[in-house]
Symmetry: C2
Subunit: 738 residues, 2 copies
């Protein structure tokens, strides 16, 4: 296809899709005249955004390695502070003192049947100007334990519970052994946690080229994908217990805060963990013997993968400098003209593992561009109705430390004042990605409707919808998507700074980014650089502007709304969908358990097995009882009635009561006792999964109890979740007339 | 898991599954007293089978390369003849004169951007005693055209129609280019055919290590899988047009037969084709540029796969010796005592690409063991009620030549006398594989019920059922399998010698083999050797005995039956299932076409596409009309009634009329005009797919017309298939009382 042809096709598409962007411009929360005014404000805001300036910000802030605790990290925070001030914001640096280990010694060697000493180093490349700089953190997993261990090696696939179920069937026990797991399928911190649960004494995590390397595309610097020496750094704190400074759960890590002993921190590992490249992994994996791995364990290295254990033996020696270091959050405010004690909070972190052009500077640059534009609007006379709070967090990479400590430190104030938290992080070319509180889903649709995609010139809503339709896997799903005018936002798991706002405090939250056309292997490596970014992530920084528009319009619409743009009908529909999923999940598990148990008991697995492979039948599972979902179902009935009344406008309270009721509604969904075995997480609808990490579990108390077959707990958690929905209904009932 | 533990588990399983083998022993087609007698005969037959002797036969017949036309090939035929004679059979060699090209020159080289000359040679291995012998056919695809072509290289995935649809979207045209395709997903001959249809001037087929190499397991000689130099030889005759000698379609290739000019043979290619190893493929693929391939095109070689075309240029030069050569079929008979003109035919080919220990000698050795045992029974006084005809075919490998020519040559006689054809080919360790005419499904179940699996000591039926249950993909399907006491046999596509019997003449057919625990990469290579076989395919030759029992019992039960053991109810049920599939297929295509067209027309694909990748939206497809399936559905109603009456025993004819009606019933399913554009294939229920080759298409006239969107043809073919079912119903009606 020629460029001309493609351009023509796109041009045709523009004409046809004009209809989409020219739709009626009703704005939720705005009377008609104020809506027009707000849209004008957004136009003025847009005109102040500059892709060139965003590019300059990215270049400047990613020009040197700037992890938490480094001199350059502090300089970046001060640079950001100066920027906010120069834009006319009231800005300050808030400092916490957080634990942050950095490597002192890293040794990994294969000691048998042949010797190999791992390189553990990404080389500088002439095509990447910053790749040879001083001050780079070496490749490591932050929060690995100190350790000096030797043992037989076992390959555990992605290192997740299912993989250990298979290992048990294959008769492989990892106790006293060192495991090697692939990155992927879950957040990295789950892998050493599960390894430790199963008795492993050490854990190696590597990037398989099938998931992150030449299998996906040409490797860096020829292409964007991970080359053989690339390593993904990253935190392995057990963040699903609690994030933030491990020594100060629930409280701000101020200099004077009372700290736990490190040994008492329940989110720290006991075993050493090290991430390595596929160059370093290949000799280790090649040395393994034992059973050949099953089909879905296989990677793209050019040999047969075996499980071990056997002749392959490794020595892993790691030690760390466990220092308390300063963490610099930059907090900037623009006071609201009418409702200064209602805060619209916007944040993105500024610390990086190395240079971090994409992660986090691309998102931060968009945030700063918004602040600059809003500052200019303010100089021209604009004042937001509510207070805008723009934040640049430090120490996100080791475990959301900067944001979590600030939230914990300001919990009381935030419970009163926080209307919303709007997050971003890495940004790139492609499609809108939005997750968050579902009462904000309608707002996100309205915002996305009014922003133009820089490549196709249709709205980012229309482009996202098109992608959803085309990617739907069945004609039925495609039809459903086609019939709808809206997109869904995703539920929030973890992995960026919204976690403490939403899941600990119940502040309604959103997270925005663009991507899907920016794939690559630079994540948490020295190659996440300006050079890489401009070639592969967002050349021209056009999606930087689009992110500024998306997050900026959202912030301004909420800040200026007459009635806060919450739509609890969408929350109801979403929760209702989750409950349906849970009943279906339980029914499916019941059916599957019954049939699988029967197949095991009647020896069908034994007869179907290859007798030469000696794979044991699966273990019998306890039958799935019938579970009483009625408390949740009844709570939904009540919420249905009330949210219908809200949608119909049957409101009896005054504007300020309504606003307050709206933004405090999410807090009704918190369960003060938190989730079982992780009380820090209090939201009954959204949490990171205990065995997925970043990946969300919705109605997590119930869902994880069912998935992990704890039936009594499931029933208790149904009560907790139903109580939360009932609290929300009661809370909203105070403002409706039914 | 320890061996002891596993053995104990199996022992428990034996106790529990005794119930299965001790079931009532009713035999279809036998009065009670004769059933007991027949079972005794089978016991005596079993005792005469020897795994040691089967092993000796395999060693002896695979001791040297013995392809069609070779001196050793002739010697093998003569050896088999002597064996039959020594077993007391009346045996002869029937010779045909068939075209069989062998390579004169083979050159493949990469000429740019770097040079590489392909090895095209499998090395001898010290671990494989026969791998260095003289007389091996070089690696080649038989029926490639002569050619000397140079051009840009294009990677076409598996080289199937869908792949070219993707290439069109990517703007890649193969006209005037040389394509390289992976082995797999279809019969090999489809790949050059489709390449030729799209204008390619040459075709290379290679074994990707993901499909056939280190990705699957340790490579030969360490393990069973294909090493980097292994090459799959094989025919690329367009066998789905017609198999057999290309110069004598429809007639026997006797010395005097009238022959076509080679250019007039419609099943021969016009372009050169060569199979290569992944060692030879790697430099070619690595040299490609152009777009990165989509996910499901990726193989396991350690680099990024690109489509081309561009800088990679190849030169392919092939010439062949197009000789007419003798083809030696060995035919052995044991005359029936009561019904000598009813023939129970059993066959397996004897020619191999090289040594062929597995393919075909493992199946042939089982057949010879049956003949030996039956010969001994005959010496002890046994005479079958019907005539047994045991056949060892030559020239199967280049395209079923030996069997096809014999069938075409004896068509008139076979239409009168052939009661059944029972085929086998390669055999190995594992589970029963059975395909064939569905009127014989009940018989297969009864036979399988009475044969013991050598590894688990349950019946081969119970073991196959267990595998079906465990491998079923959903709890619902598992439940269904668990609720049934029977297994289904597969429909026949092509790939072995049953094709002319079933699909050209309408002789009821069966094909048996064991496998699933014998995976490896030796197929059609020099490593299909006795050494490989005894390590990886059927160590101890126990499944050789099991195959002898399976095919032998089947032959004897049919030969001795009072009433032939056909069960047309199963044929009805199967045909009814096919018709349901077709209506569902059409409805699904209609829905999918409508939604896909809408997505294309509304530019959703364009908006969802990565603008940097320039992948065009799919082409619009013509809408799927509503199709009148009522002729088929009404024919099924009639057949339902008649087969119910048969099952209920409402038979009015005498035994001999019934027998004759039964074995001639399958011929009623032939359409004398054959399938559209391939009149040789006359069966309306079963044919090899036009674009799958070995893979079957059921009710092929209708199914392929729908799949290929030829709606008028679909309606015509519904009439033809319905007419066939009506003929069958009318034919059976003559013997039932309704």
């Amino acid at each position: 296809m020629t460029t001309t042809y493609f351009t023509r096709l796109l041009a045709i598409s523009l004409c046809l899709s004009g209809a989409v962007t020219a739709q009626e411009k009703k704005l939720l929360g705005y009377p008609e005249n104020e809506a027009a005014q707000q849209l004008q404000l957004e136009d003025r805001f847009n005109k102040k955004l500059s892709s060139v300036h965003i590019g300059e910000t990215i270049r400047s802030l990613s020009s040197r390695p700037h992890h938490v605790g480094s001199a350059r990290g502090k300089a970046v925070a001060e640079d950001i502070l100066q920027r906010f001030k120069s834009y006319g914001w009231d800005a300050e640096i808030v400092t916490y003192q957080v634990l942050f280990p950095t490597p002192k010694e890293r040794v990994l060697e294969l000691t048998g049947p042949v010797s190999y000493k791992a390189v553990l180093k990404e080389p500088a490349l002439k095509e990447d100007a910053t790749s040879g700089q001083d001050g780079q953190l070496p490749t490591y997993n932050c929060w690995s334990a100190d350790g000096d261990v030797s043992g037989e090696l076992v390959f555990v696939n992605y290192g997740l519970p299912d993989d250990y179920e298979y290992l048990a069937r294959a008769g492989v026990d990892v106790r006293g052994k060192i495991v090697i797991a692939k990155y992927g399928r879950s957040w990295r911190g789950i892998k050493p946690k599960v390894a430790q649960e199963h008795g492993a004494i050490g854990c190696i995590i590597y990037s398989d080229p099938k998931d992150d390397g030449y299998y996906n595309g040409d490797v860096y610097p020829q292409g964007a994908f991970k080359n053989e020496y690339g390593v993904q750094r990253g935190s392995v704190m057990d963040m699903v217990i609690y994030p933030g400074d491990p020594l100060t759960p629930d409280i701000g890590a101020t200099a004077a805060a009372k700290r736990l002993d490190r040994q008492a921190a329940t989110n720290l590992l006991k075993i050493p963990v090290l991430p390595i490249s596929y160059h370093d992994a290949a000799p280790l994996l090649r040395a393994l013997d034992g059973p050949v791995v099953p089909e879905d364990w296989r990677g793209a290295l050019p040999f047969t993968y075996h499980i071990g254990p056997g002749k392959a033996k490794v020595h892993l020696k790691l030690s760390f400098d466990w220092q308390i270091r300063p963490c610099y959050d930059v907090i900037a405010k623009l006071k609201g003209r009418e409702l200064p004690d209602q805060w619209v909070i916007r944040g993105n972190h500024h610390d990086a593992w190395v240079n971090g052009a994409a992660d986090p500077i691309s998102g931060l640059a968009a945030l700063l561009e918004e602040a600059k534009a809003i500052g200019e609007l303010a100089r021209e006379g604009y004042k937001p109705r509510r207070t805008l709070v723009y934040c640049a967090w430090d120490a996100e990479e080791p475990g959301l430390l900067g944001s979590t400590e600030w939230v914990e430190d300001h919990a009381t104030e935030l419970r009163e004042k926080a209307v919303v938290y709007i997050n971003s992080d890495s940004n790139g070319r492609g499609f809108l990605y939005a997750s968050g509180s579902h009462a904000l889903e309608t707002l996100v649709n309205e915002v996305a409707r009014d922003i133009t995609d820089p490549q196709t010139q249709v709205s980012i809503l229309a482009r996202k919808q098109a992608a959803d339709m085309v990617r739907a896997t069945t004609p039925k799903l495609k039809k459903e998507k086609l019939a709808r005018q809206t997109i869904n936002i995703n539920a929030m798991g973890s992995g960026s700074d919204y976690s403490s706002f939403l899941q600990h405090l119940g502040v309604p939250s959103l997270d925005f980014g663009f991507g899907g056309e920016d794939a690559g292997g630079e994540y948490h490596s020295i190659y996440d650089s300006y050079d890489d970014y401009t070639r592969f992530k967002d050349p021209g920084f056009h999606y930087g502007v689009t992110l500024s528009q998306t997050a900026g319009h959202t912030a301004l619409r909420i800040a200026d709304a007459v009635t806060l743009p919450f739509d609890f009908r969408r929350l109801y529909e979403t929760a209702s969908g989750y409950v349906s999923e849970l009943t279906e999940l339980t029914a499916n598990m019941r059916e599957a358990t019954a049939i699988e148990n029967q197949l095991v008991k009647e020896r069908k697995y034994l007869l179907a097995a290859d007798t030469a492979k000696r794979l044991q039948p699966p273990a019998l599972k306890d039958p799935v009882p019938y579970i009483d979902f009625s408390p949740l179902q009844n709570a939904l009935i009540t919420l249905d009635t009330i949210t219908q009344a809200l949608t119909a406008g049957k409101i009896i309270a005054d504007k300020q009561q309504v606003n307050k009721a709206f933004y405090l509604a999410e807090q009704q969904l918190l369960n003060e006792k938190g989730l079982p075995s992780r009380p820090w997480y209090k939201h009954t609808l959204y949490a990171p999964g205990f065995y997925t990490g970043y990946g969300v579990k919705t109605i997590p108390g119930v869902r994880e109890a069912i998935e992990q077959r704890r039936w009594t707990e499931a029933t208790e958690q149904i009560q907790s979740a139903a109580a939360a929905l009932n609290r929300l209904a009661a809370h909203l009932r105070t403002i409706v007339n039914i």
